[in-house]
Assembly symmetry: C2
Homo-oligomer: 276 residues x 2
C-alpha cells in the first residue's frame, strides 16, 4: 500500500503557527465559497494541525465534519486549536491513513482535500481510493498551490533558485510542489466527473500591505526560508546563494515590489454509477 511521503515542511511548533497564519490569510480567497448544508457529512482528508478545519467549521456550522490525519501529534494540535477557536464545533477526529480509511462505502456527502495531494507520491491513486467513501453524487473539493506560479518584482535568479530548492526537496520527499496545474487531469483520471478547476491568485504590491505582510512575507517567503538547512544539506544551494535568494524574496515585499502566486481550487462529483 502506498504511504504518505515525507512532509517537506516538518512538524515544528513554528511550522504549526505558519500554517495557521497562512490559513487565516487565505481563508477568504480559498474557502469562502465552500459551504456545506446543515446535516451533511463532510470528510476532511489530511487535516494536519486543523488550519483549514477551523474555516470549514466557521463556514458550515451545521455540517458534521470528520477530520483525519496520519499524524497523532498534528491531530492533538488540531483538537487544541478547535477547542480554543470553536469550542462547540461538531468535529470528529480520526487518526488514519487516507489509503485505508475506517469508513463505510459512501459514508460522506463531501470530501475536502486541501494542501494534501502535493505531499503524496501517487495523488492519482489517492483520489481514486477516496472515491469509495463518497456517496454517488457527492462532491470532492481539492485545493493546491503551484510553486511554478510564483513570480515577482524585482525578478531575481537567486530567489528563483531558492524556490526551486523547495520544489526539488518536496519532489525528493515524494511530493509535487507543482501539482496545482494538474488537478483537472488528476480528478478526471481518478473517475470524477463535472470537474471544474479555477485559479485563485494572490497578488501583492505596496498598495496592499496586508497581502504583502500576510502572504509574501509570512506565508511564502517563510515557507521557503524554513527549508534552508535541508537545501544546504542536500547540496542544492550554497549558504551565500541561499541567503541572497531569501533577501531578494524579502525585497519583493518592500516598496515597489510585487508578488504573484496562484492556488487552484477544484470541485468534482462522484458519478452515480461509479466503477470502484
Amino acid at each position: 500500500m502506498t504511504k504518505a511521503a515525507g512532509y517537506v515542511h516538518g512538524y515544528s511548533r513554528h511550522e504549526a503557527r505558519r500554517l495557521g497564519d497562512q490559513a487565516d490569510i487565505l481563508a477568504d480567497l480559498l474557502h469562502a465559497d465552500t459551504v456545506y448544508p446543515a446535516g451533511s457529512r463532510v470528510l476532511e482528508i489530511g487535516c494536519g494541525v486543523g488550519a483549514q478545519t477551523v474555516h470549514l467549521v466557521a463556514a458550515s456550522p451545521g455540517a458534521h465534519i470528520v477530520a483525519v490525519d496520519i499524524s497523532g501529534d498534528s491531530l492533538a494540535q488540531a483538537r487544541a486549536r478547535m477547542t480554543a477557536q470553536a469550542p462547540g464545533a461538531m468535529v470528529t477526529w480520526h487518526r488514519a491513513d487516507l489509503f485505508d480509511l475506517p469508513f463505510a462505502d459512501g459514508a460522506f456527502d463531501h470530501l475536502f482535500v486541501c494542501f494534501v495531494l502535493e505531499h503524496l507520491p501517487d495523488p492519482a491513486s489517492a483520489l481514486a481510493r477516496l472515491r469509495r467513501v463518497l456517496r454517488p453524487g457527492g462532491t470532492v473539493t481539492v485545493i493546491e498551490g503551484d510553486h511554478g506560479s510564483a513570480f515577482f518584482h524585482p525578478d531575481s535568479a537567486p530567489a528563483r533558485a531558492a524556490i526551486s530548492c523547495l520544489v526539488r526537496l518536496q519532489s525528493a520527499a515524494g511530493g509535487d510542489a507543482l501539482i496545482g496545474r494538474k488537478l483537472q487531469p488528476l480528478l478526471t483520471a481518478a473517475g470524477y466527473r463535472d470537474v471544474v478547476v479555477r485559479p485563485r491568485t494572490v497578488y501583492a504590491d505596496e498598495t496592499r500591505p496586508t497581502v504583502v505582510g500576510g502572504f509574501t512575507r509570512i506565508t511564502f517567503t517563510a515557507m521557503v526560508e524554513a527549508v534552508r538547512n535541508a537545501a544546504l544539506a542536500a547540496g542544492l544551494a550554497t549558504p551565500a546563494g541561499w541567503d541572497r535568494g531569501i533577501a531578494d524574496l524579502h525585497r519583493t515585499a518592500g516598496d515597489g515590489g510585487t508578488f504573484h502566486y496562484t492556488f487552484f481550487k477544484a470541485l468534482a462529483v462522484k458519478p452515480s454509477r461509479a466503477s470502484p
Copy 2:
C-alpha cells in the same frame, strides 16, 4: 526624445488577424469593466490595428474616443475594422508619437493603454509624459501581460525555452515581455495616485475548449510560433529545439493538458495638483 522600440510581433496580415482574435477572446476578461460615461473624452494610446478599440466602442458607445498610433498602416487597418464592425462609432484617428501628442494639456478625461508599454524602452517616461494630456482627476487604464506567468501541463523545458526566446527578442527590440508585474511601481513612479492593479488570469483545461482553442492555441502558442525565424536567426534556438518546444506547447492544448497565463489591469488617477 525616446521613440517606440521595434515591434517584436511584426505587422503582417496574419499578425493583424491574430491580434483581432486575441482581443475578441480576451474582451470579457480584460475590458468588460471598462465603461466610460457618455460624452467623456477618451484617448487610446497605441491602438494598432484597432483590436481593442472595437471593444472600447462597444462598451462605451457614448464616449468620444480618440485613437492614436505611430503606424499609418496599422491605423488604416483599424479604420477598416471599425467601419466593418461599428460603422457609426465616434472614433477619431490620429497618427502620432505618444511622446509628442498633438493634444492640449488636460484634453482627455481618460487614457487607455493596452499592450503598448511592453514595447517601449522607457515605459516609465511614457506614463509620465502621457499625464500631460489627462485632466486632473482623470483616469489611466493600463493592461499588460507577463510571459513569466505562463506555466502549463505537461511541463516542458523546450516549451519554456521557446517562450524565453520571445522574451529575449522583445527585450532586444527595446521592450519588456515581463512588464505586467511592474505596473504598480511604474504608475506610482510616474506620478499617478490611487493605483489599483489586479491580475486577470486565463486558465485553460479540457473542460474549457473555447479557452484552450482561443487562448492556448491561437493566442499564446501562435504568438510564440510567429517568432521562429527571428529566434533562429538570432541564434537563440536550434530548429529541432524550437520545434520541440512548439510541439510541447500544442500538447498543453490537448486532452489532459492545462495552461495558465496572467494579464494585469491597472487603474490610476492623475492627482489634482500634478507636477508636470
